[in-house]
Amino acid sequence: MTTALDTDVRPEDRFISAFEVNHGQALNGTNASIAQQREDAIERFSQLGIPTNDLELWKYTNISKVIDRPYTLPLGPREASVEESDIAPLLVDDMDAHRVVLVNGRVDESLSDIGELPSGVVVSSLAQAGKDHPNLVEEHYGKYADFEDEALTALNTAFVQDGAFVYVPSGTIVEKPIFFLHVTASDEDLFLQPRHLFVVEDGAIARIVEKQYSLTDANTFTNTVGEVFVGEKGNLDHYLIQDEGPSASQVHTRAAQQKEDSVYSTKTVTFSGEVVRNNATIEADGSFCESNLFGLCIGQNEMHVDNHTRMDHVQPDCNSNELYKHVLNDASTAVFNGKVFVSRGSQRIDAYQQNDTIVLTKDAQIYTKPELEIYADDVVCSHGATTGQMDEDAIFYLRSRGLSERRARILMLQAFCEEVLEELAVDPLRDEVTDQIRTRFGGYFD
């Protein structure tokens, strides 16, 4: 089932009427909580509307210009002719992983190779999990990604159909990465809304790698919401590699809650996209949590990448580390807005936040806003932002030791990225990202 969005009315109304038409049919849902939340979500979406630049949180990113297009809104499964040979180049060399391929937001079993999982671990589509593990979905779905203030989360929640699902039961270690390859493939312009749920229970350890690519030149808009739960003493290392190309836009919301003594790390590398907005939020809802937010954006051409993060410290004795780096070439634009919130009573918080940018051209732009909001009095919090060009003294130093100017510049850009690259703990993934960065930088100075 497919609904073409009516472009004669304002974009909000297109979605609202699509909801009304399909309500109770395509938009049903096997789970009570999913069905229940749809109504509230579409109501909230209609109140909030699509964000405009008047909102502080959307001041530098014009999302409506890429939403206001004649997209098709796919509801229900649809045929997409994606072959093994299409996805083979998108896999990570030498990364032995439990692989799931999602085409247009839906799991494609024929392209997936999950392999053998430890006992009790579930890696599946969200729709399948709703049937097989309704209690788990009920317990976590819609609990971490709040749609009260986020119109696009509300929109996703109203239209949720499918996405990725992971469950790692208490005390279980998943040694290999769980790898979700998200591809879009269509001749039509598509508006997609995948919904993911990742649950890592007490004492469990896992790595989830997500990569996004587009196999089409058609315009796509992907409004992803991923919810993450990490139980006590659990550890989840969570990657997102974004390389969808210049005709793809997206809002990617990743909302995590972690419990006492757990570690959650979100690491995002953005290579391409027309307009990319990432909302990463972590609530450290337990003492002695460690939370990590790392990001790297290699901006080129006209791409616009906006990373909004929110670190909520609502319990004492936690630490959080945040580092986002941008290298901006051509007429690319990056936005960074990181907020660290420390509630009253959350004492002995150690929070670090930093954003560094190298701007290579006059046309490239960065808007950066690190923020702290602190209501406790015994905390160590720091934040900072730097923006600059390449260090010409360093370039001269390297040249004086025999390196060509080109090599010196590539080396310095790579070195700038190194602090984030070394956080990529999955070696084959780090190697791939490093190679891609090196190749891209090489092209800058040819």
Partner: protein, 258 residues
């Protein structure tokens, strides 16, 4: 043919009406070590930067011949390949650039340019260990990012270590002795002495004569207001130590008036 001939060199800063060097003449042969002394702001470091190819300086007049060839035509990396090495007064910290990777690339690029074979990783590591040991550089420093978090003395020693690795024909030391304690000073001087040979020339820029006691230069030059005002042997350095630079200035003024 001299290794280095600086002839009537006039240098200013690009886009600004500032003149720093006003007719420098200097000749250096292989097998020699010359000291270049002078008060702050006299133009010593500018000369070093121009020799290494720093681009913000503009050569207004004069020439520099290296092995009889026009040096000013060459890019900084070409000068390194041809055998010029500048030990920086303020070595740059390069976070994220590992010493080992950087030096391997550096050494192999100059070796390639000189028609020598590229070193394998094993050969390179062996050479690095030997030279670090010879120059008194803590081998652990070679495992870190270039100069990152190094003390002042470690940075200077690292410059001499890189000098030993790159085996230049003309080594220019820009105040490598300043800011060192006595052990580090002896260490650097010792490194320089080990590297002196008949095929290599040294130009040692220094503010003080103390390091010269350990390295014994063949010639001592005094720079003043962008010119070489006096040249002599070690006695000149001793006189500067005792009497300062004022008499040089007076003699220069008298010569100009005459």
């Amino acid at each position: 043919m001299p290794l280095l001939e600086v002839k009537n060199l006039h240098v200013g800063v690009e886009d600004e009406d500032i003149r720093i060097l006003n007719g420098v003449d200097l000749t250096l042969d292989t097998g020699q070590l010359h000291a270049l002394m002078g008060p702050n702001g006299s133009g010593k470091s500018t000369l070093a930067s121009v020799l290494a190819g720093r681009e913000e300086y503009e050569v207004l007049d004069g020439e520099i011949l290296y092995d009889g060839e026009d040096l000013l035509e060459l890019e900084p990396e070409e000068r390194a390949e041809e055998g010029i090495f500048l030990a920086f007064q303020y070595p740059v910290e390069l976070p994220g650039v590992s010493m080992t990777n950087f030096l391997k690339e550096s050494v192999n690029s100059v070796r390639e340019a000189r028609g020598q074979e590229e070193l394998s990783s094993a050969e390179f590591l062996k050479m690095m260990r030997e030279r670090a040991d010879m120059m008194g550089l803590d081998a652990d420093l070679t495992k870190r990012s270039v100069n990152e978090g190094f003390s002042g003395g470690e940075k200077k020693r690292n410059e001499i270590f890189q000098l030993a690795m790159l085996e230049p024909r003309l080594a220019i030391l820009d105040e490598t002795d300043s800011g060192l304690d006595i052990d580090a000073l002896k260490n650097v001087a010792d490194g320089v002495n080990k590297l002196r040979d008949d095929d290599r020339g040294f130009l040692v820029i220094t503010h003080y004569e103390r390091i010269l006691r350990y390295i014994e230069p063949e010639r001592v030059h005094v720079m003043l207001d962008g010119k070489i005002a006096q040249s002599g042997d070690m006695e000149l350095a001793d006189k500067l130590e005792d009497e300062g630079y004022e008499w040089v200035r007076e003699e220069a003024a008298a010569a100009a008036a005459a």
